[in-house]
Symmetry: C2
Subunit: 421 residues, 2 copies
């Protein structure tokens, strides 16, 4: 058991409790104003008034793409994707994905993120990286092309679900524009067979959406709905070009729109209509997207951008309240990923926590803690990141059994080999 005392605790209703929190193994076993007597602790940590929040959930990413960080910025989207990203990705081995995923996990930990919803190939490699580091990850199927690839998806779905308490797997495919219609049918059949939610890139760019309408006479969302893909929920990544009918489908099916504002800005994809979605009741989670298109894995940046871009797009400084944004980045993320036990701080929930340094000047003076997190918070405020009760990052130091200097060295060597080969 670990006791965190002298803490400010962000409760499920966003109120604050001055008190303490106890973790027992992977679970939160106590939250209260007073010390709980009669317990034996392996460690007691005086938080000196610092704030415990549910850790951030990065609801869309491609972790291993750290290898392309700052390799090809400031390029038009198509040149970036077809001339830089795809040819280099094709050279990646499973070992590379293992290596580059680890760097992303370290970065998540510095940013108070406990969980990624990770879409990439070679899932064995990224399961290994995440498991070794003790990080929680939900793998998202990433198949594309022919219908028979749905078999691979089904095999992985059965292989990885239940493989470890920290790993789960969701049905998913890359996107409409990389899938045959037969694959969409096959994925719809899997959704029904397993009564399972399905996720994919959806309406990220205007041209993707328009081309889908040209091809099928339907938006991607309406197409997927017609294939039964959303019969048991799920959601879409990006959702920049959802129309009102799409949003109605999202509401009807309880789907999550995972917004990735930094990626959508950096790649000039656009601004997702979050304000409109919220009015209609669409559930919104938040992701960084991969480090090639962002370039950092920082939920503070995503949170500020999400609301800032709505304020600009709506010409209304009151658009998208910061308190809602924090929910998107924490509890909604957990619910989108099917991690109902990781959404808030409460007894019996998983101990996936971040500790925010309130003694940093960007948090002072304090008028509204929640708004401070969203509007002035930064990675530099993360004092601790705890995943399933284990403190993996504390005061700038990783509690991970690995040679991080060697990891960086190897990553730089392999990155150069991949680029030059």
């Amino acid at each position: 058991m670990i006791r965190y005392y002298n803490a400010l605790i962000l409760m499920p209703d966003q109120s604050l409790l001055n008190g303490e929190l106890v973790t027992d193994g992977s679970v939160i076993s106590y939250i209260g104003k007073e010390k709980k007597e009669g317990l034996t602790f392996e460690r007691e940590i005086n938080l000196n008034g610092n704030l415990i929040i549910p850790a951030f959930k990065n609801a869309h990413t491609h972790s291993a793409m750290t290898f392309l960080r700052s390799y090809a910025d400031d390029l038009p989207l198509n040149e970036w994707l077809f001339n830089k990203v795809f040819p280099l990705e094709a050279k990646l081995t499973a070992d590379d994905i293992y290596l580059f995923t680890k760097i992303a996990v370290l970065e998540y930990l510095t940013s108070g993120i406990s969980t990624s919803f990770d879409m990439y190939f070679e899932p064995e490699a990224y399961v290994q990286a995440n498991t070794e580091y003790g990080f929680r990850t939900v793998l998202c199927g990433a198949v594309s092309g022919e219908a028979k690839n749905a078999e691979k998806l089904e095999k992985r779905y059965n292989k990885f679900n239940g493989i470890s308490p920290l790993i789960s797997y969701k049905l998913g495919f890359h996107a409409e524009y990389t899938a045959s219609e037969e694959l969409l049918d096959a994925v719809g059949a899997l959704a029904k067979k397993y009564k399972a939610p399905v996720f994919m890139h959806n309406s990220e760019t205007e041209s993707e959406t328009e081309n889908c309408i040209k091809k099928y006479g339907k938006t991607p969302t309406a197409l997927f709905e017609s294939k039964g893909i959303f019969d048991y929920g799920g959601g879409g990544f990006h959702c920049v070009y959802l129309n009102d009918n799409d949003m109605d489908i999202f509401v009807k099916r309880g789907l999550f729109a995972v917004t990735c504002p930094a990626s959508n800005a950096k790649l000039a994809s656009g601004i997702a209509p979050l304000t409109r979605m919220m009015k209609k009741g669409v559930k919104i989670a938040m992701g960084t997207d991969g480090p090639a298109s962002n370039n950092c894995l920082d939920m503070f940046r995503e949170m500020f951008l999400a609301t800032a871009l709505q304020k600009i797009a709506q010409k209304d400084a009151s658009a998208l309240d910061g308190a809602e944004v924090l929910k998107m980045a924490t509890s909604n993320g957990a619910l989108a990923l099917g991690l109902d036990s990781c959404d808030v701080l409460a007894v019996g929930k998983q101990a996936d926590l971040a500790v925010i340094d309130m003694s940093a000047p960007n948090m002072q003076p304090v008028s509204n803690v929640v708004k401070n997190i969203v509007y002035s918070g930064s990675k530099s405020n993360i004092k601790m990141t705890v995943v399933a009760g284990r403190i993996l990052f504390e005061n700038g130091v990783f509690n991970i059994n690995d040679d991080i200097e060697k990891l960086y060295h190897d990553a730089n060597v392999r990155k150069e080999e991949i680029i030059r080969s």
Copy 2:
């Protein structure tokens, strides 16, 4: 003398040198690949491959507004300004400004900022706060209203210039919409008398710009130009609604447009036309604006936003190259503030430095250091901030002779008193 060795050094042309840098008092006395022999150092610091850059220059801020941080977010602009900001500002004493400015200075230091261009009232109080902390600041005149207030401006201009090596003062007034025409004439006369540049809020919002055109038949920029205010240069803060003729005036007079993207987004003011300005040759610097409208004082956030918003506005992922953005936040900021000796790392220049942690995972692997700073850098990467040769912030600790816990306590007490009185 302080020796920084095993360093990566960002040179004036944005190339990188592996080597060392020596400071002698407030000045950079050596940059080279090899150790300079024959010197006696008070301290030798092994940077382990970390990166020295010129510190960021925050070219527009109202530091003391930390007292309103997160007090009134997510409100329409006019409600925020007239019902929240102005009534509370009216209650501030000089002691309050001293107190709240200190918090901002601490925050600047955590963000690698060495210098602020600070517009507020009670300049004696913020000079005192900055001087005690060893921070470099350029005060900007903030007069408004009647013509006779130009006398106060002139008095302060003569009082504060030369008062300390770390303090200077620029002619300035709040904005067109808070100035009488007679005051504008009087400021124009001062510009001529002292052959001095002049700064002000300029074209921050659409309504400000339109109202000026209604009143004077001219944009703010054209109005100021007609009054001789720009005869010796200067610039404007925000510049969201500059038209082509305004930009031509900026180019002709060598004016700096100081962009504040986070504030312009959060207050729904709009996106400054930086891409168009750059094509025309307008010089651009960058600021955070005050913490009531931002809410944090973080040049990393400003840099990413500046380019991200251009990419969205232009629908072009290649808009506003990250390398240009870094110049705006560093060398252009120094030049805008008249600090020609603080712009780049070179022998004889002032030692205003920031050290960036390259061993943090968000900087790995390394393909392009400059792009990494702009696209994936964060406050959490600031290992050191050095102002005029003095290391004021190092590894999370302030090298400042003050009781910071008491400072926060006092600031919270006064903030509450101001709000409740």
